[in-house]
Symmetry: C2
Subunit: 198 residues, 2 copies
């Protein structure tokens, strides 16, 4: 697009390279930024760079945090003998929002995917096994209910079983409020298999 100035074109391209931002959105965002006060733009750019450079992995659970040890791992009121394994920090946040889980987490930062060439060594799995050498009662596998998530869950459970530590998997089934009519067959069968007595 030579319609715009070189600087605007570069900005549009940079924005359009972000996930979920198409060309139209990138244009709208670019023109919005061009009309923002210079100080605000400078502050926005600094916020991005600061976040990228200051955020680190928690030395224990590998979630993204400002500190060496994240607030959850540092909290002695939480049950450090129960570890929930999640794929991403966002998944951790989703469970934290329920305010019902009081164990700790382990963030894998990905899932095993032969398709994408992501193997067990590409996610924080060794780090999980190191943690299991301490006193742990239960590992709850809360990876996604996708092919990759299930593969990862199976792999982890096989890895942990020999240690004698209890391994569980979060239930899959019909989402609360879900209309059976619109739920896929695999989920329906899962919900049937996982039925509980009332």
């Amino acid at each position: 697009m030579d319609l715009y100035s070189g600087y605007i074109n570069k900005l549009i391209e940079a924005l359009a390279s972000l996930p979920g931002i198409g060309n139209k959105s990138a244009q709208r965002l670019a023109f919005h930024m061009i009309h923002m006060p210079v100080e605000d733009v400078q502050r926005f750019a600094n916020t991005i760079v600061e976040a990228r450079t200051h955020v680190k992995y928690c030395k224990s659970c590998f979630t993204l945090t400002d500190d060496e040890i994240c607030p959850i791992c540092a909290n002695l009121n939480r049950d450090h003998k129960t570890i929930m394994v999640v794929e991403t920090t966002r998944d951790l946040a989703a469970y934290e929002k329920t305010a019902k889980y009081d164990g700790v987490y382990h963030v894998l930062h990905g899932a095993i995917s032969p398709m994408l060439g992501i193997g067990p060594n590409d996610i924080k799995l060794k780090e999980l096994m190191v943690r299991l050498q301490e006193d742990v009662d239960e590992v709850i596998i809360a990876t996604n209910s996708s092919l990759e998530g299930e593969t990862t869950a199976m792999y982890i459970s096989k890895l942990i079983k020999p240690t004698g530590i209890k391994v569980t998997r979060i239930a899959s089934g019909v989402p609360v409020g879900g209309d059976l009519e619109y739920i896929d067959e695999v989920t329906l069968l899962r919900a049937l298999e996982g039925r509980v007595e009332l």
Copy 2:
């Protein structure tokens, strides 16, 4: 949200303040950036600041450009006696894409909106009137077909009429490929009023 690190929260907030970016998108973008290589993040931030600080208004038509005079105004092969008045640089780009218009433009950077408190002095209208002191044959008003765009068009035409310069308005009607069934009544009436002989 205290679920994430302070730096990530700041980044999510900054992203969510952009138009069309909701909280979920802001989270996805923030985590994408956190996982980008540091150099790429630095380059991205620079691109934003550079665009904001280097881009200026064309001294003639006020579109956003890298130069004092934009490539369109600098092009002597274009018809400088025909000026198309648009609201934004994006609208200019939309007409440029047609590759059929060979006049020049005037970018108002907004439209008159009593609702938003935007008056004639808040858009580049005085600058348009200055340009009309030169040799101009026709002013084509191509503001949006919205309430604000129509108000602005009316205002401009009243302003220019006394100068004797021809003032035209782009046609409104059924969009090409549009299905009459789904077109609003106002547009249908406009299309009827604006009918042309075949």
